[in-house]
Structure formats: C-alpha cells, structure tokens
C-alpha cells in the first residue's frame, strides 16, 4: 500500500480518495463472493493493525505470553471488523480507507491491553501523598519557583476541586491509571471522564490565577 497523492479537494490539504480506497469501498458495497473476499481481506488488514499495536506494547507487559497476546490481537480484530462495518457510512473519504480502518483495530487492541494490564489491580481512590519532585538540575531560584507552584497546585487540588474531579485527576496524573480503565471502574465513558479531567484542570488554572501564580501555559478557555 502506498500513501498516494495528496491534493486539495475543497478543504486545504485533505487527501483525495486514492484508487485503493475506491477499490475497498466498491468491494464492500458488492455482493456474493466479491463481498466475502473483501471481508476476509478487511479482517486481515485489521489483524495486522491489532498485532502491530500488541507488538508496540508487549515490552511493557513482559508477564503476558505470546499466545495470550495473539488472542488479544485476534479478538481486537474481530471487534474492529464489527465496528468498521457498522460505521462504514461514516467514512468521509478524507483519509485513506486503510488509515480509517486501522484506527478501529488500534483502539480495540489498546483498550484491551490496558484493561489486561490493570486486571486485578486496585486503583487508589485518594492518593494521600503528594509526590516528592526532584529538582531536575534547576537553578536554586527556578527550583524554588517550581516547588512553590507545585505547593499551590496541591492546595488547589484539595480546595478547588470536587471530590470526583480530585479522584480523576490524581488517578490519571499521579497513578498513571489509563483513562479508559478508570472509566470502566467508575461506570462511565472515556469521553465523559476526560471532560471531568479537563474541567478539573480549568479549575486548577483559575485557582492558580487567583493566587497570583501564572502557570507555564497561557489561557484557560479550553473545552472538553
């Protein structure tokens, strides 16, 4: 597969449908043997993507055996095939069909691997200790500023956030809990949880400004 030419078609820099994309769409709109053959090729494409994702992550999951990892890849490709077929009408032709299809397999595999990595692990609800932060080679003056900023953020976490915002922010940032794993445990969605994280960050920034401290980035008008 090649990247193919990229031309403007109404929106600057949007890739036009390449010949391979048209071939995929024609085949998946077909019937009989041609459709069955296209489904088989599509599953192969998705399996390649799922195995790619598994291979990227297996170095941080040394406790998993190759057989279990490949089972995850196959299941992810199966689930991605269902998702791709269900959402085929959403494909707008603004990317290559293969890139569009790959993202479903990568998502399925990534989510499955994160869940597997956290299977049986408890998620700390309220981390009690604020992490000690090394100076990182900063000058004494800069080091003092960083520590003051972190102390102010710590105060903001305690005083400006709701318990739910505090729980989500600390789990994701301090405990490195994947946001989709946390969403599963809390019975919500990744999108909803990111909105909570985003709102917590906006509150923290506003709280810092109220304390006369300017964070490293400008602006706090973001939306989730």
């Amino acid at each position: 597969m090649s990247a193919g030419p990229v031309v403007s078609v109404g929106r600057v820099g949007v890739p036009a449908g390449d010949a391979e994309t048209h071939e995929w769409l024609d085949a998946l709109a077909g019937k009989g043997a041609r459709y069955e053959e296209a489904l088989s090729r599509l599953h192969g494409l998705l399996l390649r993507a799922a195995r790619f994702e598994v291979a990227r992550r297996k170095r941080v999951m040394p406790h998993l055996r190759g057989e279990e990892l490949d089972d995850i890849a196959v299941q992810s490709a199966d689930d991605a095939l269902v998702a791709v077929l269900a959402r085929l009408s959403d494909f707008r032709g603004e990317s290559r069909f293969t890139t569009w299809a790959y993202k479903f397999a990568i998502l399925e595999a990534a989510v499955a691997l994160r869940r597997r990595a956290w299977q049986g692990r408890e998620i700390p609800i309220e981390p009690e200790r604020w992490p000690l932060v090394p100076s990182g080679g900063l000058s004494p003056e800069a080091d003092t500023e960083q520590r003051e900023l972190l102390a102010a953020i710590s105060d903001g976490v305690r005083e400006a956030l709701t318990p739910h915002q505090r729980r989500v922010l600390l789990a994701v940032v301090l405990e490195d809990v994947p946001i989709d794993v946390l969403a599963d445990r809390l019975g919500t969605t990744r999108g909803a949880l990111y909105k909570t994280l985003h709102d917590a960050r906006v509150r923290l920034r506003a709280d810092l400004e109220g304390r006369g401290l300017a964070p490293g980035h400008e602006g706090s008008k973001s939306h989730g």
Partner: protein, 72 residues
C-alpha cells in the same frame, strides 16, 4: 517519578482549546494522513494537538496509527 515540569504540565493540561476524546477518534485518520502528507494538520483540525498533549490514551493511539499508516 515525574520531573517537576512534566508533572505540572500533566496536572494543568494544555491550557488551550481542545477537542474531546470522541472527536479526537473521529478525526484521527484525517489528522494522521494530513501529517504524513506534510500538510498543516493542526490548522485543519483545531484543538487536536492540544488534546493529544492532554490525553495520554489518545496520544498513544495517535502515535500507533501514525507509525502504522506511515509503513502502509
């Protein structure tokens, strides 16, 4: 243990307008192919770069898709 700057960035997020996770997934293929084509993907999908800075899960999936699509 995170470096202080990294920790502050992770706590405070990108601090600029960003898309959410659902829109990120919806636009991810277009964003990646635009990047691979050398086009200005950040201008075409406003708020995407900020979201990828603020959301570790979406950032991981973006990196994977970028690498896979580049090799396809």
């Amino acid at each position: 243990m995170a470096d202080a700057d990294v920790l502050v960035r992770r706590l405070l997020g990108p601090g600029e307008p960003e898309v959410g996770c659902d829109e990120c997934f919806f636009e991810l293929d277009r964003y990646v192919d635009l990047r691979l084509a050398g086009a200005d993907a950040d201008a075409a999908v406003p708020g995407m770069r900020a979201h990828l800075e603020g959301c570790p899960a979406c950032a991981e999936e973006h990196e994977s898709l970028l690498e896979l699509a580049a090799s396809a």
